[in-house]
Amino acid sequence: MIRKILTLRNVRRIYAAFFLLLFIILLWLTSFNRMKGYETPLFLELDPLVAIASFLTSWTVYKGLALSLFVIIGTLLVGRFFCSWVCPMGIVNQVIGSLFARMRAVDAAELNSYRVLYRLKYYVLALFLVLAAFGSLQVGLLDPIPFVTRSFTTSVFPAANYGRSWLYLKQPLFNGGTLLGLIFLGVIFATRFLPRFWCRVLCPLGALLGLFSRKPLLRIWRDVDLCTDCKKCLGHCHGGCNPHSELRITECHVCMNCIEDCPENAIHYGLPKPSSSAQMPLDVSRRRLIESVLTGVVLFPVMRSTFASGTSPQYRVIRPPGSITEKDFLRRCIKCGQCMKVCPTNVIQPALLEAGFEGLWTPILINRIGYCEYNCVLCGHICPTGAIKPLTVEQKLGKSSGQRQVKIGTAFFDRGRCLPWAMNTDCIVCEEVCPTSPKAIWFQTFDVQLRNGMTKVLKRPFIDPTLCNGCGICENKCPIRDHAAVRVTSIGETRSSLNQMILKS
């Protein structure tokens, strides 16, 4: 009885359910009022592609990313287990795909056979690794862990919260969230036509783990003496790795379905037997591989000869406090969206083209949505790659000796829109909410003559650029709702030596 329930397939299912749930819980915990020292970026840290690509850009294995060694070593021993046992993206694709695509056995055998299309992911990987070697970390666009973290943070969780407020007190809004949601839905929708489309065709992490699983110690073996060529093993195959013939070992997710499906007990997992079938090596075309590498070689200088945040400071590219210089930032940021999830005010947003193509979905601050909370340093502590360095509150506010406060930008008044300046109306909300002490926003009292000849005493605000840390609460709380009369731009940010305006600062 127990042997019947506790099959290898069911053990895998239990692991998959556990890890998917763990992923969702850890992401749910990623917020100020719930985190209590949990390792919330765990899945990103387990991701060897993040570790290796960011190693190529900057020659370090940053803190928690060392955990990815477990996955690499595990893959060398037991094969590409990550994809169907651990990876939330793979599990979501598998579950939803099998819910909506009911196939006849003959179609399943056809769809689950290996296809030349599956080589594509290796070319994607080659392109990303070449870009990384030059110093541009684009792997987060398609790496499944950042992809699924970003999609959940910016679209799935906010949509689940809409109208109910059970996940967030304030409905989160994300810049281009619909686009991110549609891309996620599109990937899942593709499983209607080809099971595990993402994992088999596109996933660069799958490709990387494929490379590590070229000769694993333990693998799936088919006994040629027992096999009757019925192809039932293809019925539920996750990887599309041809267990019915010479197994494509680099494609195998060790999902164990073929073992359970074989009516002849011809398939086993472990060490080979004398009657075990031969296996196929990694299948890539050398020409296509060289093409992908050359694409990277051409693309990098193209991206770096564009007017973008990597080449020239951009006024809307206000990075979270603790962010490293822009060139290094683009070497480290994997666009995973953890900082966006943890930010209590929702100010951290995925950039569209504000930072240029290279900066797509990297975090920027949009002060109309939120503002940088003065005493908050959560984003730096959650960042798994060190694109945002962890600051203490004292470091951020410049309260430890010999240190200045961390500036992320500077606020400027638009006197044509500011109520006291343009319309002789009392306001100075910006001064009220300015968090520094003494306040960076100060005021002078003017006697102004009104249209009807009367005089009025009015307080008009000014900025002290040396005190302003660019937090943007003034812009956020400005009553001119659509386009605030005080706005923060990135000038003066601590992390940049170029983006400065004041001589003595």
């Binding site: 100020f32 407020s165 909370e373 009392d426 009220e432 909410v433 002490s437 307080k459 709380k477």
Partner: protein
């Protein structure tokens, strides 16, 4: 040559024809009725939203006790207890099974020492007194300016409230209820829903400097009941504050002047802006309490227009000489 696609439509009987004709007429009639019923000259049909008003949270007049109790001391809980005992004890204000709403100032992500929020010890003491007066529930709420979770956690108010047996209540955007303040500047505003669910309201402000209104104490603390685009209130701040004090009549006001933020208000942030005054003031008269509180900021009642407006409207008395003020040391 006949068509190869030669599947023919079956002939229908008289009975079938009549049935079909009847159902077609029925559909046509239903369409006309739908058009008639829903015909409108307005592009969008709106259901009328109910607009509430504030209840009067005060309990009956009582001239036996002093108007204001002012307590000086070191231990916040003892001071609060002494102050409320001096004006009749919590039993005068809270009856058994009341739902009591406490409104401290928890607007800012600051620590207690920085005096930007109400002292958590004062809030905790009042929660305890309410529970001792057999209130069924004690809720502590505010509509914070900074992130509410951070404000309540870092101000220490969340911890103090929970320890004393109260609950923190935070409203999400869609919970706010449209309420008519019937003021000169403030008409219909979204208001935190708990004000309509509670039976009693205890206002627990802290004494702070404010650049535009000069001070933010008991009357301006009521600003934290509003949601929506409340930053517009600054454009007519004195009338707005007086309107708030007219619309919302708390059961009791307990002013926390244990620490006073004298400069850089209302946010503060620097300990050098804070002076230790070790005082708690309790009373029903909002204007009198406010007037007592401004001395810590070196202000006089005539400097502050909203006190004059409120007094003219009969909200309270600013001339403390006319009132019975009891000063106690504990």
């Amino acid at each position: 040559m006949p068509s190869k696609n030669n599947k023919r439509e079956p002939q229908i009987s008289r009975r079938q024809f009549l049935l079909r004709a009847a159902s077609t007429c029925g559909l046509a009639a239903a369409t006309s009725v739908w058009g008639y019923v829903f015909y409108s000259k307005e592009p969008v049909r709106r259901s009328d939203t109910k607009i509430l008003t504030f209840k009067d949270y005060r309990t009956g007049e009582n001239n036996v006790y002093p108007h204001l109790a002012v307590v000086h001391g070191k231990d916040a809980e003892k001071m609060v207890r002494a102050a409320i005992d001096r004006i009749g004890g919590m039993g005068r204000f809270v009856s058994a099974n009341d739902k009591v709403l406490l409104k401290p100032n928890a607007a800012w992500d600051r620590q207690p020492e920085q005096a930007a929020n109400t002292n958590p010890a004062v809030v905790g003491a009042i929660v305890k007194l309410c529970i001792e007066a057999r209130a069924s529930e004690v809720w502590v709420t505010d509509v914070s300016v900074n992130d509410p979770y951070r404000c309540f956690a870092r101000s220490g108010i969340e911890d103090a409230t929970k320890r004393a047996g109260g609950k923190i209540k935070l409203a999400s955007e869609n919970d706010f209820v449209l309420t008519d303040l019937k003021g000169e500047s403030l008409k219909v505003w979204p208001v935190s829903p708990f004000y309509h669910k509670a039976d009693k309201l205890i206002n627990i402000p802290v004494v702070k400097h404010h650049s535009l209104s000069k001070c933010t104490i008991a009357m301006k603390n009521l600003y934290g009941s509003l949601g929506g685009q409340r930053n517009r209130l600054h454009q007519d701040i004195n009338t707005s504050i007086a309107d708030l004090a007219t619309a919302i009549r708390p059961t009791l006001t307990v002013i926390d002047a244990t620490r006073v933020l004298r400069r850089n208000g209302p946010t503060g942030g620097n300990l050098s802006d804070v002076s230790i005054e070790n005082t708690v003031i309790a009373g029903v008269d909002l204007v009198a309490a406010e007037t007592y509180g401004i001395r810590f900021l070196d202000l006089k009642a005539e400097d502050i227009p909203f006190i004059a407006i409120a007094e003219k409207r009969g909200i309270g008395t600013s001339d403390l000489k006319l009132l019975n003020v009891a000063e106690i040391e504990v």
